[in-house]
Symmetry: C2
Subunit: 296 residues, 2 copies
């Protein structure tokens, strides 16, 4: 099957060329992973650094309750920290809004952020406001992870088993606003080093799985009937709808039995396929390699 | 003279109430300072965390060369890190743009960011793109400073001398795009502990000086004829125009002579006034307490 690259990925690849020329041993992961992971000078932990924005008309509508807008703005980058196995420590919040009427309405968005931050023992430490015609919230996060433990997207090997948490295809109309980022699950997987590569499913398995495969230089095979589906979701919806915010991770064959035995969470994990040698390509059992793409 | 609070400050104060209820000894400075400053678990340094956005129609125009848009997007938060005396380490870049034509044009903005990052030995490690009707760039920075050395805005004492770097009122039409953040100067001031409080002049002395004074719970007196003015700038322009990106800092009387003697930079420093007891209020010699405010 043809390898499809999303147009967003193509732009990012082109834009980031000037940055990638400069290598530095202080950087474990940069572009092309869910989070940047940096060695700290003390070497006792790695710093995890992430930014993510939600925009009116793209990630929420004018009728979305402001509390949920704020909640989603923080939950999305938390989901990326989950994929890095990181413990979130601090957040900065940027708000772009039109005028002081809209600003007033946004106070509730801050309450949504504060409630979720409290739940994960994370501190919102600053931010700023700018005047924009289109409402947006951008959240930057700082977290920590044991040094060298964060798997990134690039460690998958041919033969590794592919797992996802939870159920897919049920993000609309509500779950994309109210989902719980899989922080405890991601931290546990990384602490026990079960996952060779991991990412969070934001744009949909149909584009996120190829991202993991390309970063790991492998192919894959998935079985559509194995996909864990939300109520009323078809395999195609589970594969392409996006905004699931579940974890996709690869597990070396020798760890699979132990993972199944030790998994301590009520959240389900489901094996959906295997990684293959790169030359074998991408096999989806007929499902299209599609998902959410901002620039399509 | 009446204390004027900018409407942006009022919104920030209202919004941030839910966050300020939660105290944590890991946080040295949060809202109300140029940067958030966090203790690192190793205690060998403090982490400095900052985010800042530039928006089309506010911080640049459709005719601004993209290289300069990128440069400004990074230089502004670097100026905040300068005020914290921090060494910048890593940056994340968020770009909001309309379509792939605009995205193409933005490649040059990334080159502007990359060139300035290289100059300050800073690594751009990630970011994201979102689809928006109005172009914006948001940059988040991570830096380091010796533990407890960053002065914040709140350490000014009555009697401290007020200094600014460089010249004021000359930001338009070009300098607001091409200025050099005063990183070396800020790092030097903090390393030698000359400054009791410091901030960078982004919105203009007329609003930034009251911010320092309120955070330090002091009054101030400045002398309009002492203001270091850019060519063709009146004292009023130097006080209210904004976008100077110079450092404003207070120096305890016992350090002033040594500061003048040891100052090693070609950038000028000028004494513009003194901090007073809070009860004495704000004295500007007739200049208005105004500057740039997004929401006025």
């Amino acid at each position: 099957m043809k390898k499809v690259t999303s147009s967003e990925d193509q732009w990012i690849e082109r834009w980031t060329t000037p940055f990638l020329r400069r290598k530095n041993k202080g950087i474990r992961y940069a572009f092309g992973h869910d989070c940047a992971v940096l060695r700290s000078p003390s070497k006792r932990y790695d710093l995890v650094f992430k930014t993510d924005a939600v925009v009116e008309g793209v990630h929420f509508t004018p009728s979305t309750p402001p509390t949920w807008i704020g909640r989603k703005a923080l939950a999305r980058p938390l989901s990326d920290l989950a994929a890095a196995g990181a413990i979130p420590k601090a957040a900065l919040v940027t708000v772009g809004c039109r005028d002081s009427t809209q600003a007033r309405r946004l106070q509730k968005a801050y309450c949504g952020i504060a409630a979720l931050a409290k739940k994960f023992n994370l501190h919102v430490v600053g931010g700023e406001t700018v005047r924009t015609r289109q409402l947006f919230l951008s959240v930057s996060l700082l977290g920590e992870v044991a040094p060298g433990y964060s798997p990134g997207r690039s460690g998958g090997k041919p033969g590794d088993h592919l797992f996802v948490t939870g159920k897919l295809g049920g993000s609309w109309p509500r779950r994309h606003l109210t989902f719980n980022p899989r922080l405890a699950e991601g931290q546990w997987l990384v602490r026990h080093r079960f996952s060779s590569a991991m990412l969070d499913l934001s744009d949909g398995l149909g584009v996120d799985l190829p991202r993991l495969a390309r970063a790991s230089r492998v192919g894959f095979q998935i079985d559509p009937i194995k996909l864990p589906r939300a109520a009323k979701a078809t395999p195609r919806m589970a594969f392409t709808r996006g905004e699931d915010y579940e974890l996709l991770f690869s597990v070396p064959p020798r760890h699979v039995a132990l993972l199944r035995k030790k998994w301590p969470f009520p959240t389900s994990i489901t094996e959906i396929g295997r990684l293959l040698p790169e030359s074998r390509g991408f096999h989806t059992g007929g499902l299209p390699l599609q998902g959410y793409d901002h620039f399509r």
